[in-house]
């Protein structure tokens, strides 16, 4: 086997079983079929992912506009403009604020839902249906429903407020609370996804642990607190990071609930990318903001990878 050189065609037969001994030379057939199998994906990946990423970087250094005017290289001017643009910072601030406000309830409520459903009470399909169905709805649909609920004159939200003796508010028009209205709608819309992730994780907790605990006389709350929650640690970490990354991309529901009106208190960074590009037609500037946002996402992703990596190696060390 060792005598086989990569270029000889006779190696085909020998390299057919690549699991013995040292790594054998690649066969030409494998080479060809590998590229043929991966080819279709790689072509669209190159065309609609790699190329736009590279072209976007180039655009961010030009003053390109949609109409084709401009296109001169302007160096770091777009980035310098963006970093001194108060609206850019405001949009980033709004995005961060939305992420904090939405992630906390989206994780906690999902956990409570999953813990309750996992108790095996009757009506399993009904609980899943109620909590998860909103996630299936298009942003257009949920926006229409919540605009109606938040209608200041005839909406249900103000009916409830007046019923419990509070003053009615202009949910989507008042800059002090329109972000809160978007958070409420978002929690209702997407909590079902996290709920199902938690439910799947709960069903993997070994039942023997509960049996041992109840033999020791631990009550339900003790069991949840000292067995279930710690077991869910890795799941919670993952749900939090997925949720943060999802919340940072806020656009669809915020844009539609406000009817396309740009509000200084709800404009997210993705909305600003959209407005700079497709309302003001400043493609170069919009690309620069895109890459600032992209860099933030990468930093968060790397931070998460480092944290999980450290946690895993700590675990491995403990064994």
């Amino acid at each position: 086997m060792t005598a086989v050189t990569p270029r000889t065609d006779t190696s085909l037969v020998v390299t057919g079983s690549p699991r013995h001994g040292r790594r054998p030379a690649r066969s030409r057939r494998d080479e060809l079929s590998g590229w043929l199998f991966a080819g279709p994906f790689l072509v669209v990946f190159l065309l609609f992912m790699v190329w736009p990423i590279l072209h976007g970087i180039y655009l961010s250094f030009t003053d390109q506009s949609l109409t084709g005017a401009g296109g001169e290289l302007v160096g770091f001017a777009n980035y310098a403009d963006a970093l001194s643009d108060p609206v850019m910072w405001q949009s980033l601030g709004n995005t961060a604020w939305f992420t904090v406000l939405s992630t906390v309830p989206l994780v906690l409520i999902a956990l409570v839902m999953a813990l309750l459903v996992d108790r095996g009470l009757p009506g399993q399909w009904l609980w899943r249906l109620s909590f998860f169905t909103p996630y299936l709805l298009a942003s257009t649909v949920i926006s229409q429903i919540w605009v109606w609920i938040f209608n200041p004159q005839i909406g249900a939200a103000n009916n409830i407020l007046t019923a419990i003796g509070l003053e009615p508010v202009s949910w989507l028009q008042d800059p002090n609370i329109n972000m809160m209205a978007i958070v409420i709608a978002t929690v209702w819309w997407t909590v079902g996804f996290n709920f199902l992730l938690y439910l799947a994780a709960l069903q993997n907790v070994p039942p023997q642990q509960y049996e041992a605990a109840s033999l020791d006389g631990a009550g339900t709350w003790r069991q949840i607190w000292s067995i279930t929650i710690p077991q869910l640690g890795p799941t919670t970490g993952m749900i939090v990071i997925l949720q943060v990354l999802a919340s940072l991309k806020l656009f669809d529901q915020a844009y539609q609930m406000l009817g396309g009106v740009s509000s200084d208190t709800t404009r997210s960074i993705v909305q600003y990318i959209y407005e700079a590009g497709f309302v003001d037609y400043r493609f170069g500037y919009s690309s620069a903001i895109s890459y600032i946002f992209f860099a933030l996402i990468v930093i968060i992703g790397l931070g998460q990878a480092i944290v999980t990596g450290r946690r895993n190696s700590a675990k491995a060390g403990a064994r």
Partner: protein, 297 residues
């Protein structure tokens, strides 16, 4: 009654994921049930309220009357006027066929690529896979400008292919499927290969049938994502007759923004197909969330 005795009596119960493994006291169960009920009602209410409004007359809907049935009684007028406007059918068809195309293409090219990365020893396999994994973190929203530019160059603005093609790249799905193929015992394929079957034969007649459940989960998720996608279809399609349901509906809201019953009827109609899909495929969707959700990791 403990779980252990129950398992002894009915051995099948242990396999059911929803089997009551840790019951607690009956008071605890009642409290849990009441909490669940309150949460479920809270989550269903907004949608039920939209349904109720869709069955009101416009006058009743605009009156702010909080009752489930308006003073003029229930009516299907709102649905009739929505469905008689014609465009809804075109949008629904556009949504259906573009989402189906996105799903079929995504699943096909992702499965082929995942199989290559899992099973075939070709040069570049490692670093290519690493690049694809890295691409999982790329938010599609940051690519809208260069992608739109590219579509202009390809003459694909205002075409369904311009809508479909950028949506078929799903690096996370390649990752999930590769992990799945890695777990399939290679002996199954070796036997077929000794018999002289080519790579594609083995993939088609052994690997694919084994992966049918996970492919179904992936497909359902890709379909839901494509059906509900808003930003990209909103940017790339301007022609009213080419719009998908979410984008088309969005454009007409302002046209009759004060006709609440019609707006709610629209919302209900647009929501129905996916609710039906969920009721039929509930099991696969729940499983799909577990696998695809974790696949993003």
């Amino acid at each position: 009654m403990t779980t252990a005795t129950e398992t002894l009596v009915t051995p099948g119960a242990a396999k059911r994921p929803s089997a009551p493994r840790h019951r607690g006291t009956s008071i605890g169960r009642i409290v849990a049930f009441v909490c669940l009920l309150v949460l479920a009602i809270g989550w269903l209410l907004p949608f039920l309220w939209a349904v109720a409004t869709a069955f009101k007359t416009e006058t009743d809907a605009a009156s702010g009357d909080a009752g489930w049935i308006g003073p003029s009684g229930p009516t299907i007028d709102a649905f009739v006027s929505i469905l008689s406007q014609g465009n809804v059918y075109i949008w629904a068809w556009n949504s259906l066929w573009t989402s189906a195309a996105v799903t079929i293409i995504t699943v096909a090219i992702s499965a082929l690529a995942a199989y290559a990365f899992s099973r075939i020893d070709f040069s570049g396999r490692r670093w290519l896979f690493a690049v694809i994994i890295a691409a999982i973190v790329v938010p599609p929203q940051v690519l809208i400008i260069p992608l739109f530019y590219e579509m202009l160059a390809f003459n694909m603005v205002d075409t369904h292919w311009g809508l479909i093609l950028p949506q078929v790249i799903a690096p996370a799905m390649v990752f999930i499927l590769k992990k799945f193929f890695d777990q399939v015992p290679i002996e199954l394929e070796d036997a077929a290969r000794v018999d002289g079957a080519g790579r594609f034969r083995v993939f088609w007649s052994i690997a694919l049938p084994l992966s049918r459940p996970i492919l179904a989960s992936v497909a359902i998720f890709v379909f839901i994502g494509a059906w509900n996608n808003f930003l990209w279809p909103f940017l790339v399609i301007n022609d009213t007759t080419l719009m998908t349901l979410p984008v088309g509906l969005q454009t007409v809201i302002s046209a009759y923004g004060v006709q609440y019953a019609q707006v709610m009827a629209q919302a209900v109609l647009a929501a129905l197909p996916l609710i039906v899909v969920f009721m039929i495929f509930q099991k696969q969707i729940v499983k799909g969330v577990a696998t695809s959700g974790f696949g993003g990791q």
